[in-house]
Amino acid sequence: MLGAALLIFVAGRIAPGDPVAIRLGDTYDERAARAIRKELGLDRPIWTQFVRYVAAAARLDFGESFIYPGRRIDRIVRQTLPLSLRLTALAVASAALVGLSLGVISSVRARSRLDRALQVLVVVALSVPNFVVAALLVLVFALWLRALPVAGIGPWQSYVLPVAVLAVAPTAYITRITRTSMLRVMAEDYIRTAHGKGLARPRIVFRHVLRNAALPIVTTIGLAFGYTLTGSFIVEIIFNIPGMARVGVEGILQRDYTVIQAVVLVYTSLFILANLAVDLSYAFFNPRIRY
């Protein structure tokens, strides 16, 4: 994470385009520029800047926006991050639910027509970019049927479309992994034994197969969390949702370095934390792994 912070920091500093010049605009003069540089700490050696930056970030203090002085970034984060997280969590939760069910059905009925259709759907869902899915859903549900709002965030109806768009890709992934890993377990000897003992089929599928197939599925769900977070960049722009990803894109377009650094740092940390959570959950699902 420290490495990521360094990379973000360096990228921000070597980038062309001087934020001081942008902020002063037409009133640029050398003395004012120097005053602002001093105020922002930009006149210190680069290593001092970095150490101070990391120390502050650890306290969740990202300083002020370069472009709009006075706008505290920690406040921006606090206002926008919960919304983004809520959307992501809802999307991953529904993806896990639907994906697991479809995957189990698909594996139980392996090679049936239903299974084949699901397989094709999975490839399609993984290939169609989320902004195309968004356009399609908006067109059908918001413009034609007028059942759901086009954009914005407010009552629960406004969550449906963004969450659905975010959920498409992870649902497909989870379906695929569930199916593959269920089929692998079903080929094991102990499943044949269970059948031989005369256990009821649902019991075998859920107790024996699903339990032993859980590891890769959990991994995928955890990874899906990370990727869905990134997907929110597009979705928040399309649906005009005041979440953190949109703040990040706006920051990038305006070269608001402190905002960019904060957004990238927060998202990368969340991404890494999600992966860490996956690693730790292994111990829970597989008693043979101990930390």
């Binding site: 490839v123 960049f233 399309i238």
Partner: protein
């Protein structure tokens, strides 16, 4: 004795250096992959011949005929500036595919070199090289790409750099783990015992054996890269107007979603079908080239 003869003798027990299975047999067995390949060839042809076949330039505006549906003068209609949609789709294909092709070529070279070098070196060098890879993989793809083009400016070169940066770490990880596994195999040891130089071992024994992984992975990466490029252009930090790109066209069509849905549908269909085809082809290739992976 030529060491390659020995290598082929030992390879009966060792990983069969994936002999290219006859291309025709591959396509005859797999109808879906054939369809995908045909579609891709078609797209490439359209992209190549765009300037000959289509009588309009992609940026020629005709403000008298804006937002027209398909008709004889403009087969796919016109957009809000009266630009020919067919021309824009075709030139968009050219830009998207060129960017993707260059990016994948660069990614294959960088990723394979890095992975092979790390796998061969072992020890501390390997550990540090892989830490760099871990660092880059820790970033979400799209975020990294937006960051690069957003900060350094959305020129075509920067877009390609951004795409390569997101793709090569994955490739090098795949190559490295395979090289590490192969390094200890008997046929490599045999070659070394015969006095083959490191360069020869890498060139004749290691690289040919990782090539099937590289081929399958890079096909799938083309589709991933096209998707990221489209997303970049969609957000506004990719291909810049008036140049066309499928992602950009979709973005520009959004305001007309209610009145002219086909304006968005056309680039969306091209983009989606291309990515679907690449994914189908990539997975079929992975299945066909990897002796350990059987179609389920």
């Amino acid at each position: 004795m030529r060491s390659s003869t020995l290598a082929s003798a030992t390879s009966a027990a060792a990983p069969a250096p994936p002999r290219a299975p006859s291309i025709w047999r591959f396509f005859r067995r797999d109808a879906l992959a054939t369809l995908a390949a045909v579609f891709l060839v078609l797209i490439v042809m359209i992209a190549l011949t765009a300037s000959i076949l289509i009588p309009y330039a992609y940026d020629r505006q005709d403000l008298e005929t804006t937002l027209r549906g398909p008709h004889w003068a403009h087969l796919l209609g016109t957009d809000n500036f009266g630009r020919d949609v067919l021309a824009r789709v075709a030139f968009g294909a050219r830009i998207s595919l060129t960017v993707a092709a260059v990016a994948v070529a660069a990614e294959v070279i960088v990723g394979t070199l890095w992975g092979t070098l790390a796998g061969l070196s072992g020890g501390n060098v390997d550990a540090w090289m892989m830490r760099v890879v871990d660092l880059l993989i820790a970033f979400p793809n799209l975020l990294l790409a937006i960051l690069i083009t957003g900060i350094f400016g959305p020129s075509l070169v920067n877009i390609i750099v951004a795409l390569v940066t997101t793709a090569w770490p994955g490739m090098s990880r795949v190559v490295r783990s395979e090289v590490v596994a192969l390094r200890e195999r008997e046929f490599v040891e045999a070659a070394r015992a015969l006095g083959a130089t490191t360069r020869r071992i890498v060139g004749r024994h290691l690289l040919p054996n990782v090539l099937h992984l590289v081929a399958a992975r890079s096909t799938l990466d083309v589709s991933a890269i096209i998707l990221v490029e489209a997303a970049l252009s969609f957000v506004g930090v990719g291909v810049q107007p008036p140049q066309p790109s499928w992602g950009l066209m979709i973005n520009e069509a959004f305001p007309y979603l209610r009145s002219q849905p086909y304006l968005l549908a056309i680039p969306a269909v091209f983009l989606s079908l291309t990515v679907i085809s690449l994914n189908i082809l990539g997975e079929s290739l992975a299945d066909a080239l990897d002796p350990h992976r059987r179609r389920r």
